[in-house]
């Protein structure tokens, strides 16, 4: 493909509440077997983008661990590959990334040394499948300077955490509001952009000269009347997991057959790091209904309408309802969990009870686990 990829995975997010204590949003486990960034990475790989940079800053250890080899997404190539770009102190820079545009500015050399004519910018918190070639074709056809991927949300959806757009009938961006408190618009930006590489370098350099650091505020909104910015509407499944509620809902969406089949049975595949775990085991007393269960789990109790991530142990007489149990959690016998997200590597003592009364409860337990 004639593009390089940049995945913005740097941010922390207060909407993730306690879940962001442990990791960047892009490293959030999703749908039992994946991490959020797998979707953008797999889309890039499946679109034949050969060279991809992941810009990280906030709490990146978990993300770096996930990306410790490029081979899972087929980026272990002689040409291109996967670049993890964290802030570094250089002769003329000693600050953290001050925003999305700044993070690209601090790695402008990488952009300048590439030779592909286009750049695909994506965020690391989207759960979707996309052939970026289609957007690039549209971008070229419209002679656009920047193309923004947009989606029409259902009426009544709270769009206050998104960029909200209005498009002209030919697709040209007319209005862009970033995270509006109140708006009558329902079309949102998915945070996926296509732009010519030289154009991006020029915009980012100008931005830096003016000490502006944000891609949306200082480039998209500021230039919307000056540059040809177009919206590309998508209809397929797309979800951003960057709030506890949408994270929960996105996971639950995978219990629907059409969503699950779209992501796991239809070409192309979403890839993830392979962890060499044995098949899931259901012992006597297991009672699993309408749930996702991942490799390495051992189930002895009842699980309903839930997503169980890898290597979870569910003790005898446990009841888990409408919950998400993240990786490597140990649930002692007789535990009752409802409407909760249980943080990874937690150890829940026997006879515990956690119920999310109004909304989703996040369970963080740091009990000691005795391993034989």
């Amino acid at each position: 493909m004639r593009a390089i990829g940049i995945i913005l995975a740097g941010g922390s997010n207060h909407r993730m509440r306690e879940l962001s204590q442990k990791r960047a949003v892009a490293a959030m486990p999703v749908a039992g077997s994946y991490r959020s960034i797998d979707f953008a990475l797999s889309n890039m790989s499946n679109s034949h983008i050969q060279k991809v940079a992941v810009l990280t800053q906030y709490n990146a250890r978990s993300l770096n661990e996930h990306l410790n080899s490029a081979k899972w997404w087929d980026f272990g190539r002689k040409q291109g590959g996967l670049y993890i770009l964290t802030p570094t102190i250089t002769a003329d820079n000693s600050v953290w990334y001050r925003g999305t545009a700044d993070s690209i500015y601090q790695n402008l050399d990488w952009l300048k040394q590439s030779h592909e004519p286009y750049v695909v910018l994506a965020s690391g918190d989207g759960v979707y499948k996309m052939d970026y070639n289609k957007i690039l074709e549209y971008h070229i056809e419209k002679k656009a300077d920047i193309t923004v991927v947009c989606k029409e949300m259902e009426a009544g959806t709270d769009v206050s955490r998104f960029g909200v757009v209005r498009l002209a009938s030919d697709g040209r961006l007319e209005d862009f509001e970033e995270k509006p408190m109140a708006t009558d618009k329902t079309t949102i930006s998915c945070g996926i952009y296509v732009v010519r590489r030289r154009q991006l370098i020029e915009l980012i350099e100008k931005c830096a000269q003016e000490e502006r650091y944000d891609f949306v505020q200082d480039i998209l909104i500021r230039y919307k009347n000056l540059k040809r910015i177009y919206g590309y509407m998508i209809k397929d499944y797309w979800s951003s997991i960057a709030s506890v509620e949408s994270y929960y809902q996105t996971n639950m969406d995978f219990l629907k057959r059409e969503v699950r089949d779209y992501f796991t049975r239809q070409y192309p595949d979403i890839y993830s790091k392979v962890q060499d775990l044995p098949p899931a085991k259901y012992n006597l007393g297991a009672n699993v209904k309408n749930s996702l269960v991942s490799s390495g789990c051992i189930i002895n109790g009842t699980v309903e309408n839930s997503v169980i991530f890898k290597k979870v142990f569910v003790g005898n007489n446990c009841v888990i309802k409408n919950s998400i149990i993240m990786n490597d959690v140990y649930l002692g016998d007789n535990t009752y969990i409802e409407n909760c997200i249980v943080e990874s590597r937690d150890t829940i003592r026997a006879n515990s009870r956690y119920v999310g009364e109004d909304g989703i409860k996040i369970v963080l337990e740091k009990n000691e686990r005795y391993v034989i």
Binding site: A31, G32, S33, Y34, K71, L255, R260, F263, T264, D269, I270, Y271, S272, V274, D276, P278, P279, A280, K281, Y282, N283, L284, G285, A286, N287, V288, K289, N290, S291, L292, V293, S294, S295, G296, I298, V307, I308, F309
Partner: protein, 416 residues
Amino acid sequence: MLLAGGQGSRLGVLTAKVAKPAVAFGGKYRIIDFPLSNCINSGIDTVGVLTQYQPLRLNTHIGIGMPWDLDRNNGGVTVLPPYEKSTNSEWYTGTANAIYQNLDYIETYNPDYVLILSGDHIYKMDYEVMLDYHKENNADVTIAAMPVPLEEASRFGIVITNDDGQITEFEEKPEHPRSNLASMGIYIFSWPILRNALIEMSDQQSCDFGKHIIPYCHENGNRLFAYEYNGYWKDVGTLGSYWEANMELIDIIPEFNLYEEFWKIYTKSDAVPPQYISSESKIERSIISGGSNIYGEVYNSVIGSGVTIGSGTVVRDSIIMKNTEIGNHCVINKAIVAEEVEISDGVVMGEGEDVPNKIQPKIYSFGLVTVGEDSYIPPNVRIGKNTAIAGNTTPEDYPNGALESGESLIKAGDRE
């Protein structure tokens, strides 16, 4: 050196298109994963895999050895098929002959010791401990051996040792065994001894380790030792023992535990996604691999990756391999269903009397239904016990809609 060229004909239709080491085991694994994982876990990072019978599946599975960390700059895994030479071009005629034909491969690494393994056993073993034992005894050959019940000893190669573990005599399948230490087909040779024996015995027809090389070394006064192994070791050479070994994985705390952090078993993972269990499902005492969709009931079974089990279907005491699709309202009892099989709605398997199989009673027994890979089974047929099915079967193949116990239905050719 991992011997993986055998057919394993006692596994019937399961090995019609794949070599025995490539047959699926324990849901997501293949039999060869166990010796390969043992190698890397023991610190052996140079492995030659000798292939001959139906190697395609085996080759694609092993690839460059990435899942086992055997993609190395030096050493790593090398697949060694038989090849044409200027003087002759013969197949591998025996286990030792296969190694003899690859002397060049071993010589490029010029090792001190060579470990000979076979690709058809299920076990976890630290070969390094065995090598330490070999060095300690200043041995020329060390044979791994395990105690078996004396009444069964006549099925094995039996070693008779003195108090130090040195082998004094060697008997192949003796009628009246004088010891219960059975050879496991795992040998460590000091390389010069092996090299010399292989060259000296190169004219031997179908040169075999158990029959020729070990007796040759013994007669020539080499120091042979038995390394006693007492862990889990399972020969999965017959459909009965293959089925049994799979079923043992389901126990609450299985003797052979795949869930231990220590000594992991690696495999080429076919499926990333999790498995889905529907609201009508019931699953107990089973292991299920990634990417499967279960809409029916599963009891006491081992299910591979990407399997679909339809609603209203009940699967009991069965092994269902990768990507097989089972329709709605089926009853599957005590069956081994290979990869990529399609079973239509309303099929009943494993019913009726326990009549021995008419054609191959020794292979298709234990009351099992065995279905070969890529098979198709039409709707609403009933299939009895001790039966074998392979190929794209049509309703006309089932007189009165049934395949009675003891019958076989093996069709050539592939499914469209």
